[in-house]
């Protein structure tokens, strides 16, 4: 047993095994989160949500997956087939690939890149390409409108998102996520959400916009452009798009936990679980994901001009101001930086 484990720990094998585990996790996360979404919706609206399949509706994701697998893939006659079919893949691969830099616990990270944060922003920016491909490939008016909205929104909100990461990078002096988490050890008062509260706020809102969720679901806009860029998709291609959306929702939650809420660090030292500290990471990520779903069922959608005003006139200046404050404080108190 021990020898098998040590063979699995060799470098290329370890990478492939852990990447497989991550892929498995991401696909299942997407399935479980669809059910969580409907359950949360149910409880917020004082009803039960799905409750027919299995005990308390817990097997609903299984039923959904079976339905989507057996459904026919319909595509518009005039669709640009190559782009139409490649778009869900171009959306899903970045969302799944970005997970390899998330540190689940001190030793459980697929690839501890020394440019982890850069890798994250680079990979997630490819998602915008997927949205445009879906909208253009479908050759339908609603799709194209949704894609244009999506591209404008994703590009605009990348700016505050990247700026909001800089405060953490300055305090840590590293782009590696493992080092970011290690710098936050020793109790919740050391987590970066306290000194970087405006940045956390900006990251949270920009993340909400990057995963195209209410109140920033203009690319989808189900009541005005009936589903936007994904209106022509059905069956497995639609399922892949949903999987990408939910995977990036969980990814943004995991990133905000890693950067601002201490990652796998327990809230107080006494609660340290050793090798099982990933439970803290999972708990915090689940909580953040829940707040995303809570917002979804409580807040109305923004208009396009409100969206742009919020991004460019509030979030970006707030980031820049706090960047200067952080830099000034680090200059006055050199012990802040590490």
């Amino acid at each position: 047993m021990q020898s098998v484990l040590s063979v699995l720990d060799q470098e290329p094998i370890r990478f492939f095994v852990s990447f497989g585990v991550i892929l498995f996790l991401v696909l299942n996360l997407a399935a479980v989160l669809t059910m969580a979404e409907r359950k949360v919706a149910g409880y917020i609206q004082l009803r039960y949500g799905p409750n027919r399949v299995g005990p308390r509706g817990l097997l609903q994701p299984l039923a959904d997956v079976f339905k989507l697998f057996t459904k026919e893939n319909v595509s518009p006659n005039r669709a640009d087939m190559w782009i139409f079919l490649a778009a869900p893949i171009a959306m899903f691969i970045p969302a799944a690939l970005a997970w390899i830099i998330i540190p689940f616990s001190p030793s459980a990270v697929v690839a501890d890149l020394n440019v982890g944060i850069l890798f994250f922003v680079g990979i997630t920016s490819i998602g915008a390409l997927g949205v445009i491909m879906a909208g253009y490939g479908s050759r339908s008016t609603f799709s194209l409108l949704g894609a244009l909205r999506g591209a404008a929104q994703l590009i605009s909100y990348e700016v505050p998102m990247i700026l909001s990461l800089l405060g953490v990078v300055m305090l840590t002096g590293s782009l590696s996520l493992v080092e970011v988490v290690q710098a936050q050890g020793g109790g919740f008062w050391n987590w970066y959400f306290l000194p970087q509260l405006p940045m956390f706020f900006v990251f949270y809102i920009a993340g909400l916009a990057e995963v195209k969720r209410v109140p920033f679901d203009l690319p989808e806009g189900e009541s005005e452009i009936v589903g936007g860029f994904m209106v022509e998709y059905s069956g497995m291609t639609w399922a892949l798009m949903q999987a990408a959306e939910f995977a990036s929702l969980a990814l943004i939650s995991a990133m905000s936990v890693t950067l601002f809420l201490g990652g796998w660090q327990p809230p107080i030292e006494a609660l340290d679980l050793g090798n099982f500290n990933w439970a803290w990471f999972g708990l915090k990520t689940a909580l953040i994901t829940f707040t995303f779903q809570w917002i979804r069922w409580s807040v109305p959608r923004l208009r396009m001009d409100q969206l742009m005003n919020l991004g460019w006139k509030i979030l970006v200046p707030l980031c820049l101001v706090w960047l200067f404050v952080t830099a000034g404080l680090m200059l006055v108190f050199p012990s802040l930086g590490q």
Binding site: F119, G122, L129, L148
Partner: protein, 182 residues
């Protein structure tokens, strides 16, 4: 290593060829993003992960998306679909492409590279930043180039604002504004 290089080179060349020959501007732009991804792969092979990340972030995630955005906003679908935009000057473009290729090849082979080896530099982002700002071991010319690039970006931003700004008296908004002022 050789296999990875061959794969990346094939990817870059095939998709670059696709940019030129495809009869649809959107296809060209998408091929171009694949080509950029291949270049990012080369940066990874050369032990420069930060450059690879910037390549993906800027060229694949931003430049291509903005180009696609522009294409979709500015052209009618019929124009986009047919070969109206494709330049037919095959021989002239062939001569230009071969000329540039030969020029670059000559420059690269004449230059004395000394004992520089690919992938031998520091991979840390800290060193990259220090070198760019001229406080590292690298020649100080990098800091000048860094400043020139930022001035260039500033000029581009100001130019974009000037171009997109409506001239006084041209549109409805300015008439409304004049009425409000008077």
């Amino acid at each position: 290593m050789i296999v990875a290089f061959g794969f990346l080179a094939g990817m870059v060349l095939v998709s670059a060829f696709g940019v030129v020959v495809s009869r649809n501007v959107v296809h060209s732009a998408l091929f171009m993003s694949v080509s950029f991804l291949g270049v990012a792969g080369f940066f990874v092979m050369l032990n420069a992960p930060a450059l690879a990340a910037f390549q993906v972030l800027i060229y694949v995630g931003a430049v291509t998306v903005v180009i696609l955005f522009g294409i979709m906003f500015t052209q009618k679908p019929q124009v986009r679909r047919f070969a109206t935009i494709i330049n037919r000057q095959f021989w002239a473009s062939l001569v230009v492409a071969l000329g540039i290729g030969a020029f670059v090849a000559v420059i690269v082979s004449i230059e004395d590279w000394g004992d520089t080896k690919s992938g031998a530099g520091s991979t840390s982002v800290r060193d990259l930043g220090r070198n760019l700002l001229g406080v590292g071991q690298a020649p100080e010319i990098f800091s000048l180039l860094f400043e020139v690039a930022s001035v260039l970006l500033l000029v581009a931003v100001v130019a974009a604002i000037v171009v997109s700004r409506r001239k006084a008296g041209a549109g409805e908004d300015s008439q409304v504004a004049e009425r409000v002022e008077s």
